[in-house]
Amino acid sequence: MNRVLWLWGILFALWLPLSDHYTGLFLFFGVLACTIAVFFGARMGIVDRESVPVHLVWRGIRYVPWLVWEIFKSNVRVARIILAPRVRVDPSIVHFRASQRTDLGRFIYANSITLTPGTVTTGIVGDDFEVHAIVQEEIDGSEENEMNRRVSVLEGEAA
């Protein structure tokens, strides 16, 4: 029930700046639209820890700046590879085990890997990750372990 209210609040907070009209009729339409959307979501039973992960918000605020910095650093590395006089790539596909316990944690980790240029998650089976890297060093460095650790922290202890 708590999550349903959260979802309604998030949807309305999204609707308001996109609408930018504050007359009674428009606000009524917004309230109506959010209520109908949340009602159907709740009826389908899809308002759960995965679709409304509000329990991750506070830890997420600490994770995102670190992720953006990592994205920036790997962007610079890939740009150097591409702009070098001779393109020297050493691509490979590697397998490794991730330490997240929930599907949501794995999803966040896989997306973080793909979001940083130079590494793309090509498959996940259980906790076995299959990752394509443009050069070997992108994947067997300590930064990948650091990302794994940080996503596990973000995921929290309760599964």
Binding site: P17, I71, V87, T114, L115
Partner: protein, 118 residues
Amino acid sequence: MEQVLSVLIWALLLSGAFFLVSGALGMVRLPDVFTRMHAAGMADTMGAGLILVGLCVYSGANFVTLRLVLILAFLWFTSPIATHALAKAALSGGAEPYTVGAGDGGTDDGAGEGGGAP
């Protein structure tokens, strides 16, 4: 103040454009679909990101900025999923990932198609 702000905006827009151009160049210079995905990822993340942040600074603190931030958030949430789907489709479609040594002549010929530096 005005000038500092406009220098900052220009720096953000130009560095965003730099990553977009690098991504496009990577499309031409890199050898196969998987390595090219990494170049496309650059355009998705820093290219679009820096340009949108530049536009946020330009527009100031209002709802337009909030909408630009939303565009950026949705882009960063969805683009890795598209990239992942593309990689998976390429793998199950039988695309062989390029590896050094398996290709014609290894690293030194700039890895083939499209040729060398502009």
